[in-house]
């Protein structure tokens, strides 16, 4: 735990550790979780008070720098072989993921710096609506990059599109009718795919709330369609597949598993990361989580092949770890 003046915290866009505020009596108040957006109002308020925070860092600046450098290199590569080897290099950084804290947050921060194209207003809107929702999107977006890389989507522009689409995947929830019930329905849906709507109906949620829940993929899609920053606008279609199920009973389209493509599965698996974000501290065990928590859930999702490739790739680096580091 270190002391962090507000002017130093203001340099960051995203909280890269746990931020506390201590009272004169020595009581600590938990202010910010890692992965939260640093709000301008928050900074202004504490700048006036010249606050010094208690800070517990999670992300590792060297790791962020390393990932950033690799992404920068990737950006200017053209040939398949080079792209492939660079993607393996990036994924290779994950090989000792299990032993180091904050690795995934560092990766997420580097991804945010390299790929984010979303206007600040939209991010702020999402953050002010639900900080948890923002954090989840922040991590999901980074995860989508890792999944895409392990599935041979290694062109920089495509990775950037995957990142931004995943970041805005739940933007459709940022509605006036977004409520506790809708948030809980999202959690239920993540625990047991296909159960969100049923849960809402059981809890006697209003029609508007059900509409927000069922209509959010379409609204997120509409938002992304309007923006002009996607190099592959057709990838935005993947937003519509985030709640599809293997048996064709998902929403909004209710399409069968056989119609879901690999690039859509990348987004779907990335979206399933939400569950880990509630645990504290979680950052040290992200990949462990990825490997285990989804196994039951993925039965319901039409994403098998992509998940398999991700697992295979990460296992490959695991085996490297065993060989090289005992």
């Amino acid at each position: 735990m270190i002391k962090l003046p507000v002017k130093d915290l203001a340099k960051r866009k995203i909280a890269d550790g746990h931020v506390y505020l201590s009272t004169s009596e020595g009581r600590k108040f938990y202010l910010l979780k890692p992965g939260m957006l640093l709000d301008e109002d928050f900074i202004k308020k504490h700048a006036q008070l010249n606050t010094v925070f208690d800070f517990e860092p999670v992300a590792v600046p060297e790791v962020i720098e390393n990932f950033s450098k690799l992404f920068k290199e990737l950006r200017y590569l053209q040939f398949e072989r080079d792209l492939k080897s660079q993607s393996l290099k990036i994924l290779g950084e994950f090989h000792d993921f299990h032993s180091r804290d904050g690795h995934f947050l560092s990766f997420a921060q580097a991804c945010f710096d390299a790929f984010n194209l979303i206007p600040h207003e939209s991010l702020k809107k999402m953050h002010s609506q639900d900080t948890q929702l923002f954090r989840k999107s922040f991590y999901s977006a980074a995860f989508s990059v890792a999944i895409a890389l392990s599935n041979d989507f290694y062109h920089f522009t495509m990775l950037r599109d995957f990142y931004n689409i995943s970041l805005m995947l739940d933007f459709g929830l940022c509605e006036t009718n977004y409520s506790y019930y809708v948030a809980q329905a999202c959690n239920q849906e993540n625990k047991l795919p296909g159960s969100g709507r049923y849960w809402l109906e059981q809890e006697k949620a209003t029609k508007q709330e059900i509409d927000v829940f069922l209509g959010h993929p379409k609204k997120s899609y509409d938002y992304l369609k309007k923006t002009k920053f996607l190099a592959f606008p057709e990838l935005a279609e993947a937003v519509l597949y985030q709640h599809e199920l293997s048996n064709g009973n998902g929403f909004p389209k209710g399409i069968p598993r056989s119609y879901v493509s690999g690039w859509e599965a990348v987004i779907m698996i990335a979206d399933s990361l939400v569950e880990i974000s509630d645990d504290f501290p979680f950052e040290s065990r992200v990949i462990d989580h990825l490997m285990h928590f989804q196994s039951s859930k993925l039965k319901e999702l039409p994403v098998g092949k992509v998940h398999f490739k991700l697992k295979e790739t990460l296992k490959y680096f695991d085996s490297l770890k065993e060989t090289n580091f005992g």
């Binding site: 389209k253 119609y259 993925l298 398999f308």
Partner: protein, 833 residues
Amino acid sequence: MIETENTPIILNLAGVLSEDLSKYFASRGIRVIDSLVENALLSWTHILVKDLDNFDAVGDTYGTLENNIRLISLSQPGDLKNFMMNNGKLVLDESWLTNAFGTFLMDKFFQEYGGVTLSDNYPKFRELGSFNITNPFSTGEYLDHLVFNAFENGMSALSVKTYFDHILMYLTSLKNKGRVGFPIEVSYGTFNDVYGLQMHFFAENMQIEDVTNSLTSRITKTPEEYLLYVSLHSSDFFDFTYLPEVKKVVITALWNKSEKVKTENKGMMFTHAVSSSSRQLPAPDVSAPFVLNEGGIEDLSSFVTPAGESEVEIIPAAMIEEEFVTTISGSAPEEETVTTVSGSDEEEEVSTTVKGSKEEEDKTVTKISGKKDEKDGFKVTLSSSKEEKKGNMTVKSFGTEEAKGPGMFDFSNKGTVKDGTGDTSGNKKAVPLFNVSGPSSREKELEKKINEIITQNDQLKSKLVTVTSELKVQRDTHAKMERIKEEVAKVVDNDTEPSKLDQILRQSASKVPTERESKMAEEFRQMEKLTRKLQLESSQKEMHLGKEIEKQQRIAALKETMVEKTRETYSKALEKKDQEIAMMQSRLEQANKHMVGGGAQAQTTQIKELERQAVNQTKMVEMYKAKITNLAAALDAQKSDENSKDEMRKIQLLNDQMKTQVEMTRKEVTKLQDRATADMTQLMALKQEKVKLSEALKKAEQTARLSQGSAGPQQGEMEVKRLQGQVQLLETYLKESNTKVKDLEIKLQNAVSVNRNTTAAEDGQSKVKINHLENSVKKLTQDIVESRNQLAEMKKETNKLRAEKTALQNMMDKAKKDLEKYEKKPASGKKSA
């Protein structure tokens, strides 16, 4: 058999169907109606055609597009685009149906299902690899893997690579048009002898028409047509499936190891896939269940696997690590279609190949066997199977490839392909992966084989002729022998008892036959065997020819039926028309009869009443017409009035302007005239004064001379000054009037020019007015000219007066001087005095 709503009902215009195809339809409960056999009119879902180049006639006759009747061609269409334009959806040679894969293709076509991965689209396939294309110009490494994999699986790497390169460039061109979205996912795999390569991508704006428009039956210079043509012709089977729910297109290319399929027919299929509401076929009689349930594609594996064939096990995703591998267990040998004509112990087998005059559709193996002593003891086995597994198959179908060896670039004997000319043991030939002359050499080989077959055929024919002649001779000898026997019998009948005859015969039988006799008997048996064989061959040929004739007859019959149908439709239409005409005539006649007087009184009054009404109506109509014309005329007049009103308003305005201008000029002129008259009076006054002055001057001179007075000169000066002032005043007046006249002239000119411009477009009435105005302007100008002349005259007069004045002045000065002289002289006189 339960027929569901979606059960296909097929109209067969292709003639006799192969056994496999008939079996397939029977097993799936699909009703196939032969147009020549059964004259049924049903709502067809599909039409089977064969050997057709133009499908317009079929399309028009049955309304294939309007009624969404899909065409299935069992042979390569002459004009592919024409086929597609008439709702052609499937090209599949019956030879594909000799194995399970053909059945699967048919199932896929009739059920119209699809999926994005190879294992979803073709559940029987084992996926061997997959990759994504983000940049179509950078696919080298993965393509290398794909080509290597194809080669390892015994496929022509050249075909696979050519296909991939061209289809990718075709899709890239569509991407540039915004029809196709990236990435493209590629997956590839095998099933038995078939190798599949599948690509799928997002295509929001792409339709089947985008592909069909580029389909050509010959190579062209249009890039898209060229690329698609090469792609299509590089694959053995081309499957285009559109998934409208997710706006995705799945393109699958299949290659078959069987050379026969490659050369005889390249198949293709165009499907508009549906997911939940997929076409359901009833359960087949014998084979596995055939219903697509909600579970999706996994369940398809059950119905596409007929009993006893290979099984496909699809494990649900995320269950185990090997979940994505579609495992295929070994396939059970296919049942051979065997027709046994007669059977006996096989002591001797004569195997031969019966070949048609054209290309062989079925390799037929004829086994002829029999005991030496049994004349009719032949066993004929006819087999239509292409499979070469069985030991009793002595004739191999050519072109069965079996590529071996891991060395992709190893040009040694490791990578070999069976020659396929019959010798399966030793004739192995090294075939390199990049054998550029692949298809042409194959063609040459085929040509060679065809030539061989033709020569064999010729040889057989000549042999047949010789054998038939020999047979004739044999028959003659046989007949002779019979006759001899009969004669002998007669002799015996006449001379001996039956028991004796028996005895003689027995004795002759028990006798050891002489060498010559046994030889002859042997020869006879041989000849007879040969004869039978030849008879069989000829009957086979006859059958083949018969089939050909039947086929041609069927085509002709089809055409005839088409013609007949069109003729019937026309004749029906004509009949209908005739009927209508007849009805009209009868009505007319009836009316005439009524008119003539046959009708009742009431009717005649009614008619009269009607006529009267009609007359009234016509009058009314005429009246209304007149009204309408009047109204129209009034409307036109109103319209023209409105137009002329506007013009009149304009003219009025101009007129007013002109009038005011004219008024002003008149006023000016009157002013000028007044001034001129005033000037004139002044001039007159001046003249009079001048006259008076001159008189006064003369008098003064006289008085000066006479009385030498002193008061005169002062009065003269005063008078001169007054005159000078008057002259100056006159001059200023003149100047003013000149400038005013000039201004007026300019104004007049402007007014005239404006008037001319505006009047150019105006009608005659306004012209008259303008002429009037112009005349008045002319008059005014004349007046002005006159006044100007007057002014000039006045100027002249003033100049004269001025000259006179100066002269008078001079005279006055002289007079003054003289007066001074006179005044001085008396003074000096007085002084001197």
